[in-house]
């Protein structure tokens, strides 16, 4: 049981953030957008559990709503990445070796466009960034990682006996991909999903911080950090709250990924 | 003939478990001693303890004397000076036992220069000589090859060259032929036999295969679950085993004596694991 610590801790942290995001739809202690300069930069109190920011907005309410954007962008981006990357990887893994290598080379072009760069490019082309451009940019940049994982895994599935048996009994390629390859590579893809979520949320925070992702009136953790930075000399503690929440979320997904990997790979379990 | 290696009451533990329950063994100068036993019987642990290559989580007590030097409690630096020079070891997996990124000749030369500080030119000559001595064809080419360009048998010969190039007093062989094809096995064994003779080195030969041990060794020890259950000259042990476990080992190895239609003999037919335990 000691072995599954990362899995449990990761699941708890991620679960916590999900709950925050869900709760924000029904209840926040204050209106997260309500500006009131007379109560700016207050320390935590009974009315404002985590204090107020430079505009007098309730930090706790903004954290709750920020969890939404963070999860939304993370989940949508990873969905884009997985839906495009995994089929490319399977296709390459089921092709002959040199054809597969060529397909992967094309997918690798996306490595040249890290999330941040692509998001900036999209924001520039559109005039401003938005939650949508952030999702698309992060999603596209995670394609090659998914393709790579799916490629390696499906190539090893293809060399197994049950695939040879299926092929010799005349089952078509698409059927093999659906019935044999996909179910067998799902565990590795799942591990990749988890660590990709961690990376996507880091990228989302960076984009909001720079102002090229979700636009400022919507509360995001990255933008909260940017706003807090102005008060770094007099109120350095302002950056602590959003910082901790970003770190908890990413840590949660990373641990979840590591835990899943360990649970799925008996060799690693021995080593750890 | 004096004793080269003298092990007394050697106990080795990992965590709460004890892998070796106090064994005694002696290898005379130039003698060939075989250790036989199933996996987990403690034979490899004994070898690794003699080489000082146990993981640092192992607890070792008792005494291992090599040529009068006490090895138990020796520092890693002290051991390193002996390894490859006074005592060397040949392992089971020739396919993976050579560094894949380094040319074979350089790996052999390293062993020479590490202990004798020979200049590069002289070392190269000696390496080529050694490679041809272990029966590698075209030693010049082999020395310039990377491990992945050689066959398993060739790699094991290269490893034997590494083990013998400094003319050690004791060579420990841990299942050196198990991973090889049967035909290659026989040739490598013969080579090992010749080379040990030529170097006058003593040998501790570990195997689970009685036939292999009887080809190389004069004496044999039978190990079972961390103890030595029987020892003696190889002919005597083979003809007249004292311990039922040994009898079982011998019977299961003699496939030629099995009557068609009868089940294959297993150790349990001979010994229930209780009677006659020391």
């Amino acid at each position: 049981m000691r072995r599954s610590h990362p899995l449990v801790v990761g699941a708890v942290l991620v679960g916590l953030i999900c709950i925050l995001a869900v709760v924000s739809f029904f209840w926040t202690p204050h209106d997260p957008g309500l500006v009131d300069a007379s109560i700016a930069l207050q320390p935590p109190s009974r009315t404002y559990p985590l204090g107020t920011d430079g505009f007098g907005q309730d930090i706790f309410s903004r954290i709750l709503v920020g969890a939404r954007i963070c999860m939304l962008v993370g989940v949508m981006a990873v969905t884009i990445g997985a839906l495009l990357g995994v089929p490319i990887g399977i296709l390459a893994g089921m092709s002959r070796r040199h054809v597969g290598r060529r397909i992967m080379r094309w997918a690798d072009i996306f490595y040249a466009f890290p999330a941040l760069l692509l998001a900036i490019l999209l924001a520039a082309a559109n005039g401003t960034g938005s939650t949508m451009t952030a999702m698309i940019a992060i999603g596209i940049s995670s394609i090659p990682a998914f393709a790579r994982v799916a490629n390696t895994a499906s190539r090893s599935v293809m060399s197994r006996d049950f695939v040879a048996a299926a092929r010799s009994s005349g089952i078509g390629w698409t059927a093999i991909a659906w019935r044999h390859v996909l179910p067998n590579i799902l565990p590795v893809v799942l591990v990749q999903v988890s660590s990709a979520l961690g990376r996507a949320i880091l990228a989302e925070a960076a984009l909001s911080y720079l102002g090229v992702g979700t636009q400022p009136t919507t509360p995001t953790w990255g933008r909260m950090l940017y706003d807090a930075q102005k008060f770094v000399y007099d109120h350095p503690a302002q950056i602590a709250v959003p910082a901790v929440f970003i770190a908890i979320t990413v840590l949660g997904f990373n641990l979840l990924g590591d835990g899943l990997r360990e649970a799925l790979d008996p060799r690693l379990r021995q080593e750890a | 003939m004096g004793a080269l290696l003298r092990i007394r009451d050697l106990r080795i533990g990992f965590g709460r478990a004890e892998a070796l329950h106090g064994i005694d063994l002696t290898v005379g100068e130039g003698a060939r001693v075989g250790i036989i036993g199933e996996s987990g019987s403690g034979k490899s642990v004994t070898a690794l303890a003699t080489m000082g290559l146990l993981p640092d989580t192992a607890r070792v007590s008792g005494s291992i004397e090599l040529g009068g030097r006490q090895l138990v409690g020796l520092s890693d630096t002290g051991f390193a000076r002996l390894r490859g020079d006074v005592v060397s070891m040949i392992f089971q997996e020739p396919m993976t036992a050579l560094d894949p990124t380094m040319r074979v000749g350089r790996q052999v030369a390293e062993v020479l220069r590490l202990h004798q500080g020979a200049p590069a030119g002289r070392a190269r000559e000696r390496v080529i000589e050694m490679l041809s001595q272990v029966g590698l064809p075209d030693p010049e080419r082999i020395s310039m090859s990377f491990p992945h360009q050689l066959s398993g048998g060739q790699r094991q010969r290269a490893l034997i060259a590494m083990a013998l190039i400094n003319q050690p007093e004791l060579v420990i062989c841990d299942e050196p032929t198990t991973a090889l094809d049967v035909t290659v096995q026989a040739r490598v064994l013969r080579l090992l036999d010749e080379q040990l003779d030529a170097a006058g080195a003593a040998c501790l030969f570990i195997s689970h295969d009685l036939a292999v041990v009887s080809q190389v060794c004069d004496e044999v020890l039978v190990m079972y679950r961390g103890t030595i259950v029987e020892s003696g000259p190889i002919a005597q042990v083979l003809e007249n085993p004292q311990h039922p476990y040994t009898a079982g080992l011998i019977a299961t190895a003699r496939i030629d004596q099995i009557e068609p239609g009868r089940p294959l003999p297993v150790i349990e037919n001979f010994w229930d694991g209780k009677e006659g335990r020391p």
Partner: protein, 322 residues
């Protein structure tokens, strides 16, 4: 000779990737729905000035022609001029490139210097308390974005202790000491996070190597532990680490965009953000292309290193080329 052939093939494929990537950058800016001139001038511009800008930037000419011109300009170091000031882009970004290059290379250097010994140490002591603690710390450090580490370092060393400047930059040539003082915090911010990731890879690569039979052979022929690791471990472990480190160096250039903005360093990243906010599309396009080219070149260099280090891969090349 065959190794040279393999390198030539890598370079050729780099040229191909650069061409495709440049087309993607160009197309994203110029071919997405929405007029470039209108985007530059913003939502409240009048049609007459939009038409004038279109005229000045030559936007009425065919897309493909403009792409080829831009490509030619890139190759000769003159990829157009700013839509705002009309200044040549080369002269705008030239001085900024040095700042970013210093930031990225120093961070990588510091990251590697931190990560290799620490990773090795935690691999050797993976079952001891300190090894486990290092693993835990890297896990936490990986969950923190660069800019956040930057903010924390700024609060501690610039705001509270006042040892180092919180922001700004001095060129190396005008005052080396000031230059260093300005770079310490941004470099540390990037290096800490990169090192954390690298430590995990170095650790797992060394755990693999320490369990390898050839490492045991090296010990059995008389190498002490540390020399054995240096002679037979480093090279083999580096094969696993180098790919990751290369990808990281690439991500680190991009990460510098954010950190430059935290510490107000006048580098490429700050210039890029400024250009985005000013809607100066030609400048954005050029800077993004520079970053993309840096990433692709690094990846190619990593591939080539990998080929030179691993004789097995070299052998594969020889098989495929013959």
């Amino acid at each position: 000779m065959r190794a040279l052939g393999a390198i030539a093939r890598q370079l050729l494929s780099l040229a191909g990737s650069l061409l495709i990537a440049s087309f993607i950058v160009f197309a994203l800016i110029n071919a997405l729905p929405g007029d470039v001139a209108a985007t530059i001038l913003g939502p409240n511009s009048d049609p007459a000035s939009i038409a004038a800008l279109r005229e000045r930037m030559g936007l009425d000419r065919p897309l493909l022609l403009r792409y080829v011109e831009w490509l030619g300009g890139l190759l000769t170091g003159q990829p157009g001029s700013s839509a705002l000031s009309g200044a040549p882009i080369g002269s705008i970004i030239g001085p900024k490139l040095a700042v970013t290059a210093w930031l990225a290379t120093l961070s990588m250097l510091m990251g590697v210097v931190l990560a290799v010994p620490t990773g090795l140490y935690s691999a050797v002591r993976r079952k001891r308390a300190d090894g486990v603690i290092i693993s835990g710390l890297t896990q936490v450090a990986m969950a923190v974005p660069h800019f956040l580490v930057g903010l924390v370092l700024m609060i501690v060393f610039a705001v509270t202790l006042r040892w180092l400047p919180a922001n700004g930059y001095t060129p190396l040539t005008s005052n080396p000491l000031q230059w260093l003082r300005h770079l310490v915090l941004p470099v540390a911010a990037i290096a800490v996070v990169e090192a954390a990731m690298l430590i995990r890879y170095v650790r797992s690569a060394f755990i693999d190597v320490l369990n390898e039979d050839y490492f045991r052979t090296a010990r059995a022929v008389g190498w002490r532990f540390v020399p054995a690791v240096i002679r037979h471990g480093l090279r083999n472990a580096s094969l696993e680490v180098i790919t990751v480190a290369g990808l990281q160096l690439a991500s680190l250039f991009v990460g510098s965009i954010v950190v430059e903005n935290v510490f107000l360093l006048p580098g490429l990243g700050s210039q890029l953000l400024t250009a985005v906010n000013q809607r100066d599309l030609p400048v954005v396009q050029a800077i993004v292309m520079i970053f993309v080219a840096i990433v692709l070149v690094i990846n190619t260099v990593v591939d080539i290193c990998y080929h030179l280090l691993d004789p097995r891969v070299r052998a594969q090349d020889e098989e495929t080329s013959s």
